[in-house]
């Protein structure tokens, strides 16, 4: 089995099948990360696609610098696209539906998540659920409320009777601890 570095060299050297292997090798992890952030399948696929288009362009234009893991690089590109998306959302204003003869919001894209989408999203979290169970109670509670119940940090703070900064801090420590737990327990999260 070729290493990621070897596959990148092969792709830059003209063997296009090498990028197919790289994509297949890392697509699940990268997509899972994007989905856990944006929580919508279609949007996650758009960002995933854009991230890899940028990867392919960078490799083909000879601008790639081998500074570490390929998957880390691609996830960083995905992360930047996620941030761009959040910032665009912040700047969007609402419009009124009152002055139109038809319902502007009667659209699949604007509808609540379907049951299928909810199931898919829950499956993302099942991949890390084993680790989440090992967290201290107050940290596990924040992760579960944030990602299983889709509460904002403001709502979590109200539900748990703490300040928003405390809720945020617990989330931060939860994620730091998830990393540490992985290293300590060498857990495998592969689904059976």
């Amino acid at each position: 089995m070729y290493s990621d570095e070897r596959l990148i060299e092969e792709f830059i050297g003209g063997r296009s099948v090498a990028i197919d292997v790289l994509i297949d090798r890392h697509k699940n992890k990268i997509f899972s990360y994007i989905l856990v952030c944006v929580k919508q399948q279609e949007l996650a696929e758009d960002i995933f696609q854009e991230a890899f288009i940028r990867v392919v362009k960078t490799l083909k234009q000879g601008r790639y610098q081998d500074n570490g893991k390929f998957s880390s690089w691609v996830m960083r590109i995905g992360h930047n696209l996620i941030i761009d998306h959040y910032r665009k959302q912040k700047n969007q204003s609402t419009i009124s539906n009152d002055n139109y003869d038809y319902d502007l919001f009667n659209s699949v894209k604007l509808a609540d998540d379907s049951v299928e989408q909810k199931i898919i999203y829950d499956q993302v979290l099942q991949d890390v659920a084993k680790l989440v169970k090992l967290l201290p109670d107050n940290q596990r509670e924040v992760v579960e409320m944030r990602h299983y119940m889709d509460l904002s940090f403001k709502e979590i703070a109200e539900e748990t009777g703490v300040s928003i900064n405390t809720a945020l801090g617990r989330m931060r420590y939860a994620l730091i601890n998830l990393r540490r737990l992985m290293e300590e327990h060498k857990l495998s999260l592969t689904l059976a």
Partner: protein, 68 residues
């Protein structure tokens, strides 16, 4: 105007960074058999794009071209 507040935006960005650090430390093999994956259509589009994209240098500038 109803939009994401600055504070919420900062929280979302921080959270995305934290999840990035978690996923970055997960072994790649963890996701080999994961149920969550991108659709096959998206994957094929990316692979098709990678085959169709050609780069060339013209007047010391690198340009890209899609050839079908």
């Amino acid at each position: 105007m109803n939009s994401t507040s600055t504070q919420e935006l900062i929280l979302m960005e921080q959270e995305a960074s934290w999840w990035l650090s978690v996923y970055d430390n997960m072994p790649d093999e963890t996701f080999a058999c994961a149920d969550v994956k991108p659709s096959e259509l998206v994957v094929q589009k990316i692979k098709g794009f990678s085959k169709a994209l050609t780069t060339f240098t013209f007047l010391n500038q690198t340009e890209s071209l899609l050839i079908n």
